[in-house]
């Protein structure tokens, strides 16, 4: 249930992204709150991943204000470089096509995610070279944290294996664990359930609920798997052709005629030439 009293975490106002003449995202506004899972859904090509790329600094939006509210202040994401958004604003993301450091081990993937903290602890390499005890403690803490996440996603046994050798579902879980090792305030997941079987999807749901409840962070989710979306989302934003066509709780979105039309294209058959419509009808 969407709770209006929950703290606003991310406010997207009038986000527009144009690529030449193509408007991929058109005047999109929504709010994601702390301790809530916000899902962005929509048919293929609706502009969901573009929204993510704008939020995480991979694209610079044409128009719009993207504000992330943190205890230490407000970050205007549209003005920040990609890596600074992750480093300072606390925005972590996963990718539609899993992007792990395939040649490095599972553990190393999680240690690299804690790079900035370790870099400071090693006094930008100088302290690490001379073996400063503070650095050794920081490294031990980083390993402990990685171990904790490996336990949660069930990969402890394979910690020293190359990440690329894991099965697909495990790679997805590892990518989420890696994003969480950056201590994010908002976790952005791009189709985390893609390619997972029913059992793995259920595990993923449990993991995302745990993250929301234990860490008190916000989760922003792009997903095609309606089973996942309806089961775990607190709020859903529906995009079609870059525009927001509906938003609200899973129950209200599910029954929204505009959404059903966008997904099923109910009225569009009438626009087809009669002979094609007849063919389609005949086959069905």
């Amino acid at each position: 249930m969407s709770d209006p009293a929950a703290a606003r975490l991310l406010e997207v106002e009038h986000l527009t992204m144009r690529f030449g003449g193509l408007v991929a995202v058109d005047d999109l506004s929504f709010t994601a709150r702390q301790r809530e899972i916000t899902a962005i859904i929509g048919p293929n090509g609706a502009g969901k991943t573009t929204v993510f790329n704008c939020l995480t600094g991979f694209y610079r939006p044409s128009v719009g204000r993207l504000a992330l509210h943190r205890p230490e202040g407000e970050f205007l994401l549209e003005r920040m470089d990609g890596f600074r958004i992750a480093r300072h604003a606390g925005m972590a993301r996963t990718f539609q096509n899993v992007r792990l450091f395939a040649g490095m081990t599972v553990l190393e993937n999680l240690i690299v995610a804690q790079h900035n903290r370790l870099m400071r602890a090693s006094l930008y390499t100088v302290g690490g070279l001379v073996g400063l005890p503070a650095y050794r403690r920081a490294e031990a803490a980083a390993v402990a944290k990685a171990k904790d996440w490996l336990d949660r996603v069930g990969l402890t046994e394979r910690a020293d294996h190359p990440a690329g050798s894991l099965p697909y579902g495990a790679q997805r879980r590892l990518e989420i664990a890696r994003a969480m090792c950056t201590d994010p305030a908002l976790l952005c997941l791009d189709e985390p359930a893609a390619g997972l079987n029913a059992h793995e999807s259920a595990e993923l749901n449990a993991l995302l609920r745990d993250i929301r409840d234990d860490h008190g962070i916000g989760i922003l989710l792009i997903e095609h798997d309606m089973g996942v979306v309806m089961a775990i989302s607190d709020q859903i934003v529906v995009l079609d052709y870059g525009r927001k066509i509906a938003s609200g709780t899973p129950a209200s979105v599910r029954n929204d005629p505009v959404v059903i039309k966008a997904y099923l294209g109910a009225e569009e058959d009438e626009a087809l030439p009669p002979e094609i419509a007849r063919d389609l009808g005949g086959r069905a």
């Binding site: 995480t56 890596f83 480093r87 992007r99 792990l100 490095m104 171990k147 910690a159």
Partner: protein, 431 residues
Amino acid sequence: MALAALPPPRRLDGGHLIKDAALAALVALVLAIPLVGFQAVEVNAALTIRTRFDWMAIGVAAVFAGRLLLRVAQALRPVRTGEARARWLPTVDRRRSALLAWLGIAVAIALPFLPFSSRYVVDLATLTAIYVMLGWGLNVVVGLAGLLDLGYVAFYAVGAYSFALFAQWFHLSFWECLPIAGLLAASFGIALGFPVLRLRGDYLAIVTLGFGEIVRIILLNWVPVTNGPAGIGDIPRPSFFGLPFAARAPPGTTSFHDFFHLSFNPDHRVIFLYYAILALALAINLFTLRLRKLPIGRAWEALREDEVACRALGINPTTVKLSAFAIGAMIGGLAGPFFAAKQAFISPESFSFMESAMILAIVVLGGMGSQLGIVLAAVVLVGLQELRGFAEFRMLIFGAAMVGIMVWRPRGLLARREPSLRLHGERGSAA
């Protein structure tokens, strides 16, 4: 190659075998007519052509017989896959490679005192050590950070020239110039790094290739400073902590052999230079091994694996790339003065693209990222280059050996990646 692509005959089919061998012989014949059949000879200051059809016939017959034997042998033996074919090469696990490393260090230290050792051997070992160091430096850039650099020789040149020039103008000693050379090369590395920050893969390789050529051409044409193609000679030799290696010490100093009450031997200097580069190379090795286990080293490897993911984790790719370029360049720059001191003369000719290619070949043949593999590759390649007995066939054998290594060990001599840290220890949950 249509010939090589023919599937090996399953059973001995006489007609097929003869046809196959005849085809090979025909190709050999076509190639042999211009290559072997005619020879230009000088008779009484006039150039005439001599035919050698007898040689040609022997060659073609040998190809025919060889191909026939090869096919028969293939038909009699089961077909083996690439995996099986490489099995006769020993696999190198962690313990074996550690043993190999200590053995190598022991041999390297004992080398000048071994019975077969001579000034030539020590000189060659010094050259090998220089290449090992260059390989280790380039390994940071190519092997760890995954940035293909075809102009690495530029940093080597910067190191060598900064020693030569600082010694010539400011009369600084070898040991004073060494850190200067390293720092200068590192700043050149950063200077190269800035324009190529946005480039990847092939594009990066082309720009670095250009950078290497720019440095060489500046050295060639800036005659007032670098003396152009004539090079810089009379480069001072390094001293033993202030004691020069000279038959007669300059006034006010004591020479090395007087101080230690030895008889003068010019080999002392060569051996000392060898030990100096050996010590520095080992120190560099410890330094890079250490860096690999620090956040910076892991960030290099992460950058090699996926730059986009690095960015999403809050890692600044700019600083990671620049640090890789700077450290790699510094190591190359430190190797430069040793080359200059060894030769006592440098010219731009020593820093051509061939050198970059040689260093890159060492890194690739050694197995990207493997310190020990680079040592083996450097020994093999420098050794092959010195095959004096084979005269003009030297480069042919060099090339064939490189092809051979790539066929049997496509990922390099030692390509096993050791994790920078483990959760379960050495044998933990190894499957």
